[in-house]
């Protein structure tokens, strides 16, 4: 199983190297891998159909509960078959479609990596592994949408798709972690049986909303649907595979997968039912409004994704059966139609329905398969799409709540879908032949293989619905429901309300198609209202990222060192004050009586010197005052019998003052640019800071919790350190490594100063 998932990655990384070496046969040869996978997965059908669930486990990061655990039941098997099956035809198709392009190798790398990720996604039982594959599909999708990366529009669309899906993905990540917290496991195989615990958990609502954010963005549900039509900037094989048959269904897959754990609540029904129905309606409306071949198909995919979400939300036996049937039907006809769209583009160079007509004679086979697939899309007997649509109508009519609303939405949507199907299935092929950029020919076998097989399967499954129904779909429905359910698919359900709805929608749909050349422009005029739509919201968010970050950065990183210092000191003050006020019950009341009067004198001198240094307008005066301050400090050292430290201080002060005077002597006089207001502010902060440090100092001198280690030094510097000057022994023996470090500091400073003086950019240039 591990090999099945990873083989795609292995071939992917070899693809850029292999592609130029295999020439024209590349598509057929690469197609062998997904084909083999399809056969391998198909061999599991009997076992899975008997209701068994297979688990394959490979440890990955066991400490974090991350494992490559794969779960094979009806649902994952159905998806795995779709992914590998359609993948086979896509790979073959791309071999011809992109032949001779410079990036064909990179394309195969991405599409094969995508296929492997998608397989991993639907097979993973581990939540984290599932998420890893989930994000991998987003990234490969991003790189594929941006295939024509030198066009600005492709880059923008790629970014939009990724940004929306990754934003949802991050919510999903949080949701999955919370799900694991609530359900007590990172394994779907265990979570599927602990639905009651999860639904009762306090975190149920937040985790549900987070997970749905992930699935709704991935599966292009309203209001996140806008990225999908833009993703059509990708090459057609990508649109057919990622953005219709597989990746966008990942969200639907996850909702179906989690239905036993999360589903069945009122929130679930309302959210999925209403949002799904809305998406369905908007998708079909937008499809009817558009004229671009891929645009129409993309919006009809949005419609299908909405339908699936709605059905999973309804969650009855009928609805679940309808969902899996619809899923299969859609993958078959939409995969076929997209590949046909690619053929049209490839053979005629035209991407708009209004400019297409009469191609039937030039490419009869293409026209035939387009017609079959379109019939399935429209839901007309005896195609499999009809079976699915009948089930869908039955399900919405029986919905436990909001039934009326979603039935109305479903019928309205079905009417428009019939019209769309007619536009796709009739318009390019019949009527007068319109001029094309290239002379159209029948497509070669590698392009036609996919549409032919997929469309034929749609017809076959329609005539014999028990063929997929008996084994695969019933197992899939069982997995979605989480409990055994009755699955019965048939073409003919008798004269009932669903059939009446079908007939009505067919009639109205054909009417709409008849008037398409009037309806479509009328609807397109409604585009003026699009500025209220969610896509504008996306644009606003992107614009506000730039503007917020601009103003934030101008404020924070303003370039002025003085404000930086001010901010740091103020932050420190704030934290200190807050800590002292909340954590220190009694402020110290220092006892000053023991201090000798001459100490006060020295203190007064240093304080005055400091004051003079900050107020004087003369540089030399300030330096001299700082010197006085330093000598005052030296005196204090002496008073507390640290004579050697005092001597060091005197030496340092003397040298500093002399050097500063030498340097400052060559500088021009002071210029005062500072406003008195900011001086006042700085002075205030400085005094407050000094005061706070003094306060802390007083607090610490009050307590001495433990005797200092210096007693050890006093005792042992003679006997063990063999020196009578304790400070010296500390410096060169007890703490010699400090001194070593300081020696290197001096060496470093010397190198730095040398380089600064000798290596100047200006000198070098001149």
């Amino acid at each position: 199983m591990l090999l099945a998932v990873l083989s795609g990655f292995i071939l992917a990384f070899l693809a850029p190297w292999l592609t130029p070496r295999l020439g024209r046969a590349v598509g057929w040869l690469f197609g062998l891998l997904p084909a083999a996978l399809f056969v391998w997965f198909a061999s599991f059908i009997p076992v899975v159909a008997s209701g068994e669930t297979l688990l394959f486990s490979y440890p990955w990061v066991p400490g974090l509960d991350i494992n490559l655990t794969f779960l094979l039941d009806g649902l994952s098997l159905l998806f795995a078959l779709l992914i590998s099956g359609i993948g086979t035809f896509i790979v073959i198709y791309a071999g011809y479609y992109l032949h001779g392009e410079a990036y064909q190798g990179r394309f195969y790398l991405l599409i094969l990596a995508f296929m492997a990720s998608m397989l991993g996604l639907v097979l993973s039982s581990n939540l984290v592994a599932l998420f890893v594959f989930w994000e991998l599909t987003s990234i490969t999708s991003y790189l594929l949408i941006g295939y024509h990366h030198e066009e600005g529009k492709a880059r923008a669309s790629a970014l939009q798709g990724l940004f929306v899906t990754v934003a949802g993905g991050l919510a999903l990540l949080a949701g999955l972690v919370l799900l694991a917290v609530a359900g007590g496991s990172y394994e779907l195989s265990e979570l599927l049986t602990s639905g009651d615990v999860v639904r009762e958990h306090a975190l149920y609502l937040p985790l549900l909303l987070l997970i749905l954010l992930g699935t709704f963005t991935k599966s292009a549900q309203f209001p996140f649907h806008f990225w999908l039509p833009n993703a059509m900037a990708a090459p057609t094989p990508v649109s057919a595979y990622l953005h219709s048959a597989t990746m966008v269904k990942a969200g639907v897959y996850l909702m179906a997968r989690l239905n036993p754990t999360l589903g069945g609540t009122e929130t679930w029904l309302l959210l999925l039912g209403l949002i799904g129905a809305t998406t369905m309606l908007i998708g079909s409306y937008m499809a009817l409004r558009s004229t671009g071949v891929k645009q129409v198909l993309a919006y009809s995919t949005v419609m299908a994704l909405g339908t699936l979400t709605m059905l999973i939300g309804v969650g009855t036996e009928k609805a679940i059966t309808a969902a899996v049937a619809f899923l299969l039907a859609h993958s078959l006809y939409k995969g076929a139609l997209f590949m046909i769209a690619g053929i049209i583009d490839h053979e005629t160079g035209i991407k708009d329905f209004r400019e297409l007509g009469g191609l039937r004679s030039a490419m009869p086979l293409t026209a035939l398969f387009a017609g079959i697939a379109a019939l399935s899309l429209a839901g007309i007997a005896p195609l499999f799409g009809f079976v699915a649509k009948e089930l869908m109508f039955e399900a919405v009519l029986e919905a436990p709540a909001i039934g009326t609303v979603i039935t109305l939405f479903a019928v309205a949507s079905a009417m428009m879908v019939v019209a769309i199907a007619a536009v796709i299935g009739l318009r390019p092929w019949f009527g007068p032949r319109l001029p094309t950029k290239k002379t159209p020919h029948e497509a070669p076998p590698s392009l036609l293989a996919g549409p032919a097989v997929l469309a034929t399967l749609g017809l076959l499954f329609g005539l014999l619905p028990m063929l997929p129904g008996q084994h695969l779909l019933s197992a899939a429905a069982l997995a979605v429901a989480g409990e055994p359910i009755e699955v019965y698919l048939s073409l003919w359900h008798g004269f009932n309300l669903p059939l009446l709805l079908s007939a009505t929608s067919l009639a109205v749909g054909l009417l709409l198609y008849w008037q398409w050349s009037r309806v479509q422009p009328a609807l397109a005029r409604l585009a003026a209202w699009d500025h209220l739509g969610p896509e504008r919201g996306y644009e606003k968010v992107m614009a506000s990222i730039v503007s917020i970050s601009d103003s934030h950065t101008r404020l924070v990183q303003n370039g002025y060192l003085r404000y930086y210092i001010l901010t740091i000191i103020s932050t420190l003050l704030l934290l200190l004050a807050w800590t002292i006020l909340t954590r220190y019950p009694v402020l110290p009341s220092p006892d000053l009586s023991g201090i000798a009067p001459h100490t006060f004198t020295i203190l007064a001198i240093t304080a005055l010197a400091a004051l003079y240094a900050v107020t004087t307008r003369s540089r030399l005066g300030a330096v001299a005052a700082l010197g006085a301050l330093g000598f005052g400090v030296a005196l204090i050292y002496v008073l507390f019998s640290a004579a050697d430290v005092g001597i060091t201080q005197v030496l340092v002060e003397t040298i500093t003052v002399i050097m500063l005077v030498l340097v400052l002597f060559r500088l021009p006089g002071f210029l005062d640019f500072t406003l008195s207001g900011s001086r006042l502010r700085d002075g205030f902060i400085a005094v407050l800071f000094g005061g706070t440090i003094t306060l802390i100092l007083l607090m610490t001198t009050e307590v001495q919790f433990f005797p200092p280690i210096s007693e050890y030094f006093i005792e042992n510097s003679g006997p063990l350190g063999h020196g009578r000057n304790i400070v010296n022994v500390i410096l060169v023996d007890f703490r010699a490594i400090d001194t070593l470090g300081e020696i290197f500091v001096l060496a470093l400073a010397a190198i730095g100063v040398y380089a600064m003086l000798k290596l100047r950019a200006e000198d070098r240039k001149s």
Partner: protein, 502 residues
């Protein structure tokens, strides 16, 4: 006593000194650079192995018993940091071979590099707070000298801000050391841990006040909000090899110190101190990533992201659960590798195209597919996309945060991940996908393709590491997990240093 603890300090000190002896020979200095850093990497791996086997390694300098003399201590956190020092050190040495201009080699580039690494290693290994200050000084002076090497005007301007604000940090650090010594009478970290634990709770408020001083001092070093100003002012000015080393390693010293102090020494009032750290972390993440979104220069974007990522590491510390600390540690490892690699890529792009401005770049996906892939790996890893190291690091932090109920922090951690992706893709779009500008000139590579190898070599090695850290993270996770338990249960550390049961 284990002498291997001293090797990571001794090797670069020695290499620095020998390089000074060979002041006039570039080639000798260059190869000393590579050999010494390779030796450092080997020694660091050996140290990690020994530490893994023995738990804690202690060396009493000058054979003076703790807490009176200075000790070098290696626990797993220190050993991990030392391995990172070895990795980034070697990568920098390799990258320097062809990227450092001749005249900078003439003015002590290599000695400065070695001594900087010595300072970093010393800071990771010391078990004494004043000695830590000394290593900070070594680092500060060495990094300052590296920043100004070259003498460009922008370098001077950045370096002034760098050195001023870092000296402020040093001053606060020293003040805090003095106050702590006044209260506890000791400088040894293990001894401090023992003694501060004995301070009666009603008096521990004073310790929290002192802890704040340390927090700010290290917060400045780590470039946390609102203390990070020196970083965006200076990191884009020196040679890219230096920027990569700084971003990969230097800010981590501040983070490491926060980890060390706020697990071992200041755990009296976790509810208070770590709550502050939490908000510091959140604001750091957010402020950094917003800063990056506003930039259009390759290195400036990366600099601001460094800040943002520091927030994640501090968040790991702030949450203070075992898993969160694991996340923090893995984040440190991940970020060192990825950020150093991204800076080096920016240097290679500069070498190829002669600019760092996104506006003037483009077309590299067409002309340099391998470089593009290397960038994409590093960039996606930084943005936390699976299956790379950044995802694992982020996942652990997010999971720890959710398990601890820190909703706000997790929300921002995820949001910042999205914004990181935004600016990484901005670079990808502008530098790699976009068609190159018409007037673009291919900077002649002077027919020296072997010299470009030294650009590619470290970048490719970093890419391999970030992939391995993502897909084969289990061993690193185990080390980080044991390291986190060492941090939370300080008895092992104390016993190893002081030789007594606490």
């Amino acid at each position: 006593m284990s002498h291997v603890v001293a090797l990571p300090v001794l090797i670069p000190l020695l290499a620095g000194s020998i390089s000074l002896i060979f002041w006039r020979s570039h080639s000798a200095q260059r190869w000393i650079g590579v050999i010494a850093n390779a030796a450092l990497l080997v020694a660091s791996l050996w140290l990690l192995r020994e530490t893994w086997v023995h738990g804690h390694l202690v060396m009493h300098m000058g054979n003076w018993p703790a807490p009176f003399g200075i000790v070098l201590v290696s626990d797993l956190l220190a050993a991990i940091m030392i391995v990172l020092t070895g990795i980034t050190g070697l990568a920098t040495a390799l990258f320097s071979l062809s990227s450092i201009p001749r005249e900078q080699e003439r003015f002590g580039y290599y000695p400065l590099l070695h001594l900087l690494l010595a300072g970093v290693a010393g800071a990771f290994l010391t078990g004494d707070i004043f000695n830590l200050y000394v290593w900070f000084e070594v680092m500060l002076v060495a990094s300052f000298a590296l920043l100004i090497l070259g003498g460009e005007r922008a370098q001077m301007e950045g370096a002034i801000k760098y050195v001023t604000l870092n000296l402020l940090s040093s001053a606060l650090f020293l003040t805090a050391i003095g106050l702590l010594y006044g209260v506890a009478g000791t400088l040894n970290m293990a001894d401090l841990a023992v003694k501060l634990a004995e301070v009666p709770p009603e008096q521990s408020g004073l310790l929290t006040v002192i802890a704040m001083l340390f927090m700010i001092a290290f917060g400045i070093k780590a470039a946390a909000f609102p203390l990070f100003f020196w970083l965006p002012a200076s990191y884009h000015t020196p040679q890219v090899a230096v920027s990569a080393l700084f971003a990969g390693l230097l800010t981590k010293v501040g983070v490491y110190s926060l980890f060390r102090f706020f697990t071992l020494i200041f755990d009296q009032d976790v509810a208070f101190t770590h709550e502050i750290l939490l908000w510091m972390a959140v604001l750091t993440m957010l402020s950094g990533v917003l800063g990056a979104a506003a930039q259009y220069e390759f290195r400036r974007i990366l600099s601001f992201h460094s800040i943002s990522q520091i927030g994640y590491m501090i968040l790991g510390l702030a949450l203070f659960t075992p898993l969160a600390l694991v996340g923090g540690i893995i984040y440190i490892v991940h970020h060192s590798i990825v950020k150093a690699s991204l800076f080096q890529i920016s240097g290679l792009v500069y070498r190829l195209r002669g600019t760092y401005e996104l506006k003037g770049l483009g077309g590299l996906f067409r002309s340099h597919p391998w470089l593009s892939i290397l960038f994409l790996i590093a960039a996606l890893s930084l943005a936390g996309m699976p299956p790379l190291s950044g995802f694992m690091a982020k996942f652990i932090i997010v999971r720890a945060g959710l398990e601890a109920g820190a909703w706000v922090a997790v929300f921002f951690a995820l949001l910042v991940g999205l914004l990181t992706l935004y600016s990484m893709l901005k670079i990808w779009n502008e530098v790699f996908w976009k068609a190159g500008p018409e007037t673009q000139h291919e900077v002649p590579t002077r027919g020296q393709s072997p010299r470009l190898t030294y650009y590619y070599l470290p970048i490719a090695l970093f890419a391999v590491m970030t992939i391995l850290l993502g897909v084969a993270i289990q061993p690193i996770y185990e080390i980080a997990e044991r390291s986190a338990s060492q941090l939370l249960d300080t008895r092992g550390y104390i016993e190893a240093v002081l030789g007594v049961q606490p």
